[in-house]
Chain length 341, copies 2
């Protein structure tokens, strides 16, 4: 009678079948009691709840995913978690997707194309319900796998030129342009550009920087410095030292993010270079500390959290209705003019 079938392959863990037996119902009723409690009568629901608690039952997600063909997960690929920018984006995503019951598969370490491909393939094995990516996929294989998978996808941070994909972000070149214009308007003429890793977005900001200089007739003056290293305050110090040694005449530096800018600021403090009088410093992203540094940092405020929120929302819409047209959502940016420039 008590057909406690335990095959050789059984894992020994409590299954839905065990709970069903304990509660004197069928497995499918337990399944329903857990997923759609309203479809099960109250007495059964309670009995099942007790059985679950007594046995310490934890549903097996792999089995659920396999049977239902829905993973209830969304994969998010960001370049790096040491960059606060992406942590803020993630927070926005989590705040939208968490309450909707989605689990996030967070992948990082994407400044390397091979690693990016590896990660994307790995996450596709989970058959996520949706995909949130940062920037275009670099490797053709990754792009093919992406297209072939049919998983709804939203790209974040940048606005895609390709209007067949959905993207949420702001115009990187426009932001670079705006900051450079600001520096020009404040009377600076020898404006340097500083970056860490030259990813897509950084390159676009640089395009904006160059365009602004060109238009102002200073296109011939061009002091650009970058490093393959990851961005950090320390790197900002180093690059500033190097920049000033090579181009002593510069009167402003547009740093591609706030970490570098803070490093530039520290370097100037250490050397007694007055900011912004002798050297104006501009950052990018408005990471929070810029508002309290001395002098306070002029920077570009980017809608990171909001990008995460809107990207998640657009993705949800596309999961519910895969036929939706692609969309490009520009969330803009805002110049924060403070003391350093």
């Amino acid at each position: 009678m008590n057909k406690r079938r335990t095959g050789s392959r059984s894992t020994g863990r409590t299954t839905i079948e065990d709970v069903a037996r304990h509660a004197g119902v069928s497995a499918i009723t337990v399944s329903r009691a857990l997923r759609t409690p309203d479809s099960v009568s109250k007495p059964l629901r309670e009995r099942i709840g007790q059985a679950v608690a007594t046995l310490g039952y934890v549903p097996n997600r792999a089995a659920r995913t396999l049977a239902s063909a829905r993973s209830n997960s969304v994969a998010v690929l960001v370049p790096s978690l040491s960059n606060q920018v992406f942590v803020d984006v993630l927070a926005g995503i989590r705040d939208v997707l968490g309450p909707r019951g989605y689990q996030l598969l967070i992948g990082n370490n994407l400044y390397d194309a091979a690693e990016e491909e590896r990660l994307l393939m790995a996450y596709l094995e989970h058959h996520p319900d949706g995909l949130l990516l940062t920037g275009l996929q670099q490797s053709p294989r990754a792009r093919a796998a992406l297209a072939g998978s049919g998983v709804p996808t939203v790209h974040m941070m940048d606005l895609m030129a390709d209007h067949s994909v959905t993207s949420v972000g702001f115009s990187q070149p426009a932001a670079g342009y705006a900051m450079t214009r600001h520096l020009l308007e404040r009377g600076h003429r020898r404006i340097a550009f500083m970056a860490a890793q030259l990813d897509e977005r950084t390159l676009k900001r640089r395009d904006g920087y160059r365009q602004a200089l060109d238009e102002a007739g200073h296109g011939d003056y061009c002091a650009e410095i970058s490093s393959p290293a990851a961005s950090s305050v320390g790197l900002g110090v180093e690059l500033t030292a190097q920049l000033l040694a090579e181009h002593p005449a510069i009167d402003a530096v547009f740093c591609c993010n706030d970490d570098l800018a803070l490093g530039a600021l520290f370097h100037c403090q250490r050397r007694g270079i007055p900011v912004p009088q002798h050297l104006a410093i501009a950052g990018f992203n408005d990471l929070g500390f810029g508002a309290c540094s001395v002098p306070a940092l002029t920077t570009v405020a980017t809608p990171r959290y909001h990008i995460g929120v809107r990207a998640a929302e657009l993705l949800l819409a596309r999961i519910d209705n895969p036929a939706l047209d692609a969309e490009t959502l520009d969330l803009g940016f805002e110049l924060q003019t403070r003391e350093s420039a």
Copy 2:
């Protein structure tokens, strides 16, 4: 003959069966070619490889997990990703577990006990092969589920008093004590303590601080300030202002992390308070920017990356051999005495 059975529940995605048919072999051979290539002859291996490429086959991880009872994933729960400390820990974990083929399920937002429980339960549904946790689980239900799951677990950051669990980290109270001793030895007497959220680890550092003051006979003098808000440079500015307003006589402040310390530094710069002459400032963690700030930040260097690495290694050992005894691994810390104190 071509029994292309496509039941009503089929997802339409390419399965291992499709690949097998295309390559003219059985499904199990494809499975082997993908997992243990050496066990399949070269010609077949190549034919299968081509079929995989042609069809764009992506294995279904849920099915694999279900059939093999191994998820090849490790769940990592950290309090927050906006705290660089945990990002460094994650990097160490990834560097060990990634090459070994494990996927990481990263959970954050754990400063809330209810959320922590929710996340832990959600990750247990994945039946991870191992679990890396930060701090003790607060809720009894979470602890029960953890114990019942039988999943190998390593706790990170702090050293557990409970020697039945494996933990990797350093002594938080000892670190708090050491820094306070340093400040005392430099002649400071009115030493304040500043923290953001009072999590377990922060409280233990404070214990060390109090003990050092007590021993030095300054136990009666106690200026402590904290805030329920998340730690940030801005919060450091605020708390410093508040602290100085309430306790104008303090001559040193021990900040529970470097963000707060930088905020304190900025506040002093803004108000023209000489550091360290009028107010010495000490941080915690040695996040990188402390080495270049002006003045450079005295702080406690914590082996974050290394904690991640060793925790992952201990976990691997326990996954391979669940019978291993619990272990407590103290990785120590190092006082970084620089200019600010």
